[in-house]
Symmetry: none
Subunit: 160 residues, 2 copies
Amino acid sequence: MAQLSDSIEQFIKELMQQDAHIELRRNELAQHFGCAPSQINYVLATRFSVDHGYIIESRRGGGGYVRIVRMQTRGEPNFLETLLNRVGNSVDEETACAIISNLFERKMITRSEAGLMRAAVSRNALALPISAKDVLRAAVFRNMLVQAFKNLEEEKRDDV
Amino acid sequence: MAQLSDSIEQFIKELMQQDAHIELRRNELAQHFGCAPSQINYVLATRFSVDHGYIIESRRGGGGYVRIVRMQTRGEPNFLETLLNRVGNSVDEETACAIISNLFERKMITRSEAGLMRAAVSRNALALPISAKDVLRAAVFRNMLVQAFKNLEEEKRDDV
DNA sequence: TGTATTGACCATCTTTGACTATTATATAGC
DNA sequence: GCTATATAATAGTCAAAGATGGTCAATACA
């Protein structure tokens, strides 16, 4: 069931395989998919947020554009710390899932590991009043993030 | 006379003869049988539950779906069900870790996955009064167990 | 009495459109 | 020429509508 949003996401990701940053016309893209221009914003907001590892820049007016940049974390020594700070002591499910997708796309965790992490932070798992949920989710998620990074180190060691 | 539920069950099982996993539209199926959509949920709950060897995933909204995955019980039948029962709605850290180790020894999860699961159920992760901890841990853990088994099915699919 | 069925109400995700904001370019006034 | 203003060409925001599936309690049926 290729949803319009999914197709647009795919399309953009294919474009980005070549380059770490692309530039496009919102209206053109919308026309290409025969949809409302604001649909593009929806896709960007739900699949290309900072938590997903992308930065969006744009400009209006004549010659306007939308630029999508894949954030670099190669060799970023404080990536884990950055993520832990982002999570803080309260995080919603959407943000957590975005970060998990990000880790997967960067090949830092496997598809299965991503699944496990999502399972642990899903609203189903955390059967609590909503207010407490985000706080607890953050605690569980932080723990898993640290572990995920430990796993990476382990693997590195095994490779040697 | 075959009940509606029985017909729907049959219908789904026939679909699943080809593939161990199918995806369908709840509303379409309901319409096909001229019944209330919630009837589908009833059938899924009573005939395609985990203890019947199935895992259900779904998504709402436009392009929504219901996916049914059949677990090929290799070795012990309903191993997942056994584990879920063991966990119940309250489990201590030691027991959870024992189960995780067991899954690893059976090569049902990787070392990394085991690490992630331990991280999620550790007492550090669940910062709550002790009484509530076990209950919450059970909820998180059950969710992860189901996911771990889903992962196994996924991998099997990828192998093919 | 236990199982099956339905319907009302809820939750989630997507798509659209009206309205707004910004920028480049053309035009007018000096 | 230079500046001010209008116009056109973009993109952004937000709330409403549309498209699904979920839950649960009341009711019907076997």
